[in-house]
Subunit: 241 residues, 2 copies
């Protein structure tokens, strides 16, 4: 079968990064179609969204092409890759639990995004600063700690030990939690430090994922896009409470 | 195996309703644990969230108990039920596409909720009215029409005809789109009417779902919780633009 082609807006890690981490850990070749110095990157991504004749059109990036398949929605892409590359258990219960974790990570990602865009993604941050300040305050004091405490509980209760969210091996949920926490640490260095002090198992998991051979090589490569002010996780000091 | 037990906050349709519709269409018995006149309803739901010793604790309701399984996240519950009750195709591609549709419905539901709670779910609407007005304006003018147009496109391109989102039979995604559009119609009668005028296939699907035998019986029953001002979809005339 053909290789994987990932479509995501160039220049920011965004939701595409959750897919990249799975592909990198799996060690499979993939083409990150819109990345790099090519000026046509955004056009390539947009073309896939508006192309006529696709029976399963994606609503938004990221989307993955694999042969004739076009799969949108980050969590659905990971469900697909998890089955193929041993990044989720094979049992129905384990597979579903991994996916449930991923969907909760997705919720946390969306809420993280909305701290700087509580009114409209279409508008600039500068057009919604007072609202962003209020939303970020709630996120830093309530939502982020709540999400991280839940992941801590999940790690504590894993019957196979607290090194992974599910079972005794790495899953795409572990990789995604690494990315979520990395993003929160970039965006909210103070608030995330306070929250992570109370969730040491989450903090340890993040360290362990970063140290995995393939992930470490990826993070040191040019393929890894640094967090920046165009992505989902942005550092505005005034929002870090 | 034991029957299904659904846990969701009593007195509002909320995200629990997406699960109820699937169970009703499947025609399987289930216990809607927290509903009805029982004062202990909220406590029953909360108890499941905070119970110690559950290896797969849900982050938030709804969650479904089925024998020893506890499944959280609406889309994950539907993935589980879809497989068991013929509410999704059996092929991997069809199953994944149905799920992708559901995840996009979930995104629309969250955005619909955030129109009246753009700052914090923890606070009252009255504490975030100016922000809600701005967010609802964007939702009514941009996001809702964009979501509905996408579903219209999906219906137009379904190789098996535009009566269903996937293939030639009803799936949980059809049921969920019915609930999403019903909620939008309750919350934003003017804006949704304008959007639905441009998405006639979506409007027709909603009518067709409401007319299905089991769904019609359910909608006429006391089990159906009407939309109200405590749920995800709320009607504040000042937000309907």
């Amino acid at each position: 079968m053909a290789g994987y082609e990932l479509f995501y807006w160039p220049g920011l890690p965004g939701r595409g990064e959750f897919v990249r981490l799975a592909l990198e850990e799996a060690g499979v070749p993939y083409r990150d179609v819109a990345q790099g110095p090519k000026a046509e990157g955004p056009g390539l991504v947009a073309a896939g969204l508006s192309a006529a004749g696709i029976a399963t059109p994606p609503f938004a990036p990221p989307y993955l092409k694999h042969g004739k398949r076009i799969i949108g929605q980050t969590a659905a892409i990971l469900l697909y890759l998890g089955d193929r590359h041993g990044l989720a258990p094979k049992t129905e219960a384990g597979r579903l639990w991994t996916h449930q974790l991923q969907l909760t990570i997705a919720d946390a990602v969306s809420e993280g995004h909305d701290t700087h865009h509580p009114i409209a993604s279409r508008l600039y941050y500068e057009d919604q600063k007072p609202e962003a300040k209020r939303r970020a305050e709630d996120f830093c004091h309530h939502r982020m700690p709540k999400f991280l405490r839940w992941f801590e509980t999940v790690l504590e209760r894993n019957p196979k030990g607290s090194l992974h969210l599910v079972g005794a091996r790495v899953t795409y949920a572990d990789l995604s939690l690494f990315q979520l926490v990395s993003g929160l640490t970039y965006a909210f260095p103070k608030a995330s430090r306070a929250a992570l002090r109370k969730t040491p198992k989450v903090a340890a998991l993040v360290q362990a994922i970063a140290a995995r051979q393939r992930i470490a090589a990826y993070l040191a490569s040019e393929r890894r896009i640094p967090f920046n002010q165009y992505g989902i996780f942005r550092h505005y000091p005034e929002l870090d409470l």
